[in-house]
């Protein structure tokens, strides 16, 4: 390490009280920012759980659809039209809707019902109990074993329930990649059974799932679907669309943003104030260094190094603390949605760099102005 930076390092860490206060401030700010943004990322991730779990490459839908749950049914001829587009390898219908399940205990429980294409069962979940072909049996349903599974009274293979006055039988228990956002269990069945059991509008296709022949065909399919008056979105596009809806049209985004800004201000206030006090206490010493022969830019490097080192250490501690808390919370609370993404990490890192920059700037302004003559004058 460069000698002058080593001096800066020692000045910083040997002032244990201030250094600890700085670290606590930054760590706390990073912790709050990461917790808030992770919670938001987790909610957004879960809001797209059906898209992630089904895994289709292209989703065709009404352009007004904002979330998977708010599907607008499409007429059957759209399915035929999509199948006839050049570049489409295959296209299947998907039903997505809500139903009331009456359990054996007599309790009603809302559930999401996914109706898979009868021929291909495209988008089926991975079974952990039962056989997928049993889904064709009479009244057959596959139950997803996620955090909401308990709400169906822990069903086993053969468990029976009522769904909109129809009998339902559990023939499989499945696991999925992502749990849902709304706290209700998910049932899979065939498309035909879904539209038969659940009251429907005149049109019944919630989504058309499309597999293109090649990646190059995606753009062409999108254009052709658009000409039909509908919208074709890739899996990532659809996830983005859902995220945008929750971010900008539900108030969720602005609330999380506000909390994140408050966390940033708290961190900036604590660290900025502490760093400023640290600089003030060492101001005469910086002046003495200047008198001895240190150049202004060397003092600037020292301060920037101190601020950056503190912020990066606080960043590491904050990320570590958040990760531990989230991991622990997920162990205890399986429905806990928080998810640390690279985006969260980069966001917190940028915020921390801004804190370091502002704290440095305050210190640098002070140190640059100190005249060695002031040291002589006392």
């Amino acid at each position: 390490m460069n000698g002058i930076l080593r001096i800066a390092f020692k000045l910083l860490i040997n002032d244990k009280g201030k250094f600890a206060a700085l670290l606590v401030g930054i760590t706390f700010a990073v912790f709050l920012m990461v917790m808030m943004t992770s919670m938001f990322a987790g909610i957004l991730h879960r809001s797209s759980s059906t898209v992630i779990n089904i895994g289709a490459t292209i989703w065709v839908m009404d352009p007004a659809v904002n979330t998977v749950a708010s599907s607008i049914p499409m007429p059957d001829y759209i399915l035929d039209a999509v199948r006839s587009i050049d570049g489409v390898k295959y296209a299947v219908p998907l039903y997505s809707g809500g139903a009331l399940v009456k359990l054996r205990s007599g309790i009603y429980q809302a559930a999401t019902v996914i109706g898979l294409d009868d021929a291909s069962l495209f988008g089926r979940p991975e079974l952990i109990e039962g056989r997928i072909e049993d889904i064709y049996a009479e009244n057959a349903f596959v139950v997803v074993k996620d955090t909401e599974f308990l709400k169906l009274n822990n069903p086993t293979l053969g468990s029976e329930f009522e769904i909109n006055d129809h009998k339902g039988v559990v023939v499989g228990i499945a696991k999925v990649t992502s749990g849902g956002l709304f706290g209700i269990p998910t049932l899979y069945t065939t498309y035909k059974r879904a539209i038969q059991y659940i009251p429907s509008t005149r049109y019944t296709i919630s989504y058309i799932l499309v597999e293109p022949k090649s990646a190059d065909a995606v753009q062409h399919i999108k254009l052709q679907v658009k000409q039909l008056g509908y919208e074709a979105l890739t899996k990532d596009d659809f996830i983005q669309k859902i995220s945008r809806f929750y971010k900008y049209q539900t108030g969720l985004g602005i609330n999380v943003l506000l909390m994140t800004v408050i966390s940033f201000i708290v961190g900036l206030s604590i660290s900025g104030q502490t760093f400023y006090t640290f600089i003030l206490e060492n101001l005469e010493k910086f002046g003495a260094l200047k008198a001895i022969g240190a150049k202004g830019r060397e003092l600037v490097y020292m301060i920037m190094f101190q601020a950056t080192f503190t912020c990066l250490t606080g960043y590491g501690l904050g990320i570590g603390l958040s990760s531990i808390i989230i991991a622990f919370a997920k162990l205890r609370l399986p429905s806990y949605a928080a998810l640390i993404t690279y985006g969260n990490l980069v966001f917190a890192f940028v915020m921390v760099l801004i804190i370091a920059g502002i704290s440095s700037y305050i210190g640098i302004r002070k140190v640059i102005r100190i005249e060695p003559f002031d040291i002589f004058r006392g």
């Binding site: 390490m1 000698g3 002058i4 080593r6 001096i7 020692k10 000045l11 040997n14 002032d15 060492n282 005469e284 010493k285 002046g287 003495a288 260094l289 200047k290 008198a291 001895i292 022969g293 240190a294 150049k295 060397e298 005249e371 060695p372 003559f373 040291i375 002589f376 004058r377 006392g378």
Partner: protein, 234 residues
């Protein structure tokens, strides 16, 4: 007297403008030589610290020049003035200005580190200078663990560690009791002063006048007289 070390010529310095203008140094000229200990003495507000600051490259005069080793220091760019302070001048400040968060030996090493000497080498050299001032055993301690006299000696070690030609002491005995102050100045005269070094001391402590080669008296920004250490008019 030895070779010419410092030549101050018609130095003028004022602060403020208009009605608040205060002239701190008025047309001061003098010379200092290698091998001598020159005191600048005078009452508070007489301009002695301002004069010292202009000589040491810290405060730019409004007019006049300072020539050190045949170099007009105030004609140099800012970075070179900083280099001049680092390489040619050693400072012992009134309040020492030791870094409380650095050990004694690290404090002494600061000028070497600013001169880009390797960290370990700088500490090694600093230990030698701590030995000169009799504080080698205090090397790992923080300055707050040292007495006032010891801190003063650490400040001296820091001032001489880069072997400067000119040493500047600002009120070196102001924070010390009479005996310690005299011992420090006696030590400086016997161990630090040599033919290749000029020491300037700002003081109004008459108890240490006996160690001066010359005493330059200032009042109201002007030199009112130069006397030898024995007190005779030059």
């Amino acid at each position: 007297m030895g070779n010419l070390a410092i030549k101050a010529d018609a130095l003028v310095k004022w602060f403020g403008e208009g009605q608040t203008k205060t002239v701190a140094v008025r047309d001061v000229s003098f010379e200092a030589y290698f091998g001598e200990m020159l005191y600048i003495e005078g009452p508070s507000g007489s301009g002695k610290t301002t004069l010292l600051s202009m000589i040491s490259g810290i405060l730019r005069p409004n007019s006049g020049s300072v020539t050190v080793e045949n170099k007009d220091i105030w004609s140099l760019p800012a970075d070179q003035i900083a280099d001049f302070r680092l390489n040619t001048v050693g400072f012992v400040f009134q309040d020492y200005h030791l870094f409380p968060r650095l050990t004694t030996v690290e404090n002494v090493a600061i000028p070497l580190i600013l001169k880009k000497v390797d960290w370990n080498e700088a500490l090694k050299m600093s230990l030698q200078y701590l030995e000169i001032v009799g504080l080698k055993d205090r090397a790992p301690l923080f300055p707050t663990k040292l007495s006032g006299g010891e801190q003063q000696r650490v400040a001296i070690a820091r001032a001489i560690v880069s072997s400067p030609d000119i040493l500047i002491f600002d009120e070196p005995t102001a924070s010390l009791d009479g005996d310690t102050g005299r011992r420090i100045v006696d030590f400086v005269k016997k161990n630090i002063l040599n033919d290749k070094r000029c020491i300037l001391i700002v003081t109004h402590d008459s108890r240490i006048f006996e160690y001066a080669n010359r005493i330059m008296k200032m009042e109201d920004g002007k030199i009112t007289g130069i006397v030898t250490g024995g007190g005779h008019e030059e």
